[in-house]
Symmetry: C3
């Protein structure tokens, strides 16, 4: 049983963005040499989440629309006042809504590995989802198995 | 430390359905021989999710009502146009809402195993949740432990 | 490769409460002796969830407001009638909304461990989130690694 970890460096270009990291995760599985096991995909950030679904641009727009309806950008977030009042360390972003979206999505997903391949059907892709871009980001990919 | 994997075959009967797989997952834990460890329950599908909660039919209806309110079936989903336009491989389903519901729920849950038993309290059950049935489905159950 | 498990005992004071368990989880990682691995944080309850985000009180209020909007306390939940009708074992709580909130949040999160430390950035904290307090509760923390 072995354990193996790498990070994927990303750079989001827009405020909300689905970044497809499926191929990068599979490459890390390949380098790990694990044939039977599982991979943890985890974001060490408070305004990002992980999702697994079909990489179809209209579907991703549908999902964003749902998220905007649940967590509107134009509502008032107390957190935005907190950020405004901070003397240092604040980047001045009104990102209360981004945190709320990230909590709903969750920080991690775990995917099984079978014969060295991610157990994903044809239309499943792994996304690192940015809710407060553009920014430099990273994702932790950790593999456990044989 | 060992690793063990099986699939559970399911057949959903209705469009949205909570399928209680708790006993099947415990059976797989039994066959694995693992006494201390954890089980990953994962759906390799884009219109299903995993949930853990009380198997009480009125509660499940309450939760479905919440999901329908957040992600209405009668709203317009761009993904449904995508599916209509595909020349092949489309099954003609208007399932944009099913994908959105699945992303909100997530593809996996991890449950600890203690003395060979799932760490679940009396009212906790593991559900594979179908959002685009009826269909033949499967769930991956992977166990790591001693 | 080793596996190590402890429980954290908690007592929530209000109906909805974010309990920051980051330091307790790190203490368990320390006691496990694991340097490279991952920690599963799991709630064996049907009206609690796990979240990872910034421990900033105004942000937590923002998120609670979003959850109350999605799953209102003053709506009618069929589950509440179920609880009223039970002859025994019911605590008489109208907690249909609490179960629904818990399902949306999910029962578990998995966090990588690097050089003996949780991989959390400065503003990430791990919360056990109570949706039906006040109650005595526990959280299962399980570590796998080297």
């Amino acid at each position: 049983m072995k354990i193996y970890k790498e990070r994927i460096d990303l750079e989001s270009k827009s405020q909300i963005e689905f970044m497809d990291i499926t191929d990068s995760v599979q490459d890390i599985v390949d380098r790990s040499g694990v044939r039977e096991g599982q991979v943890l995909v985890y974001v060490p950030h408070t305004t990002m989440g992980i999702a697994i679904n079909h990489n179809e641009s209209m579907l991703l727009q549908d999902f964003m629309r749902i998220l905007y309806k649940i967590v509107p950008v134009d509502a008032q977030y107390s957190h935005d006042l907190f950020e405004l009042r901070r003397q240092s360390g604040s980047d001045g972003r009104s990102n209360g809504h981004s945190h709320c979206k990230a909590i709903l999505l969750g920080n991690s997903e775990v995917v099984p590995i079978e014969k060295g391949k991610l157990v994903l059907t044809e239309r499943q892709n792994i996304f690192a989802v940015e809710f407060d871009g553009s920014r430099k980001r990273d994702v932790v990919v950790q593999i456990i198995g044989l």
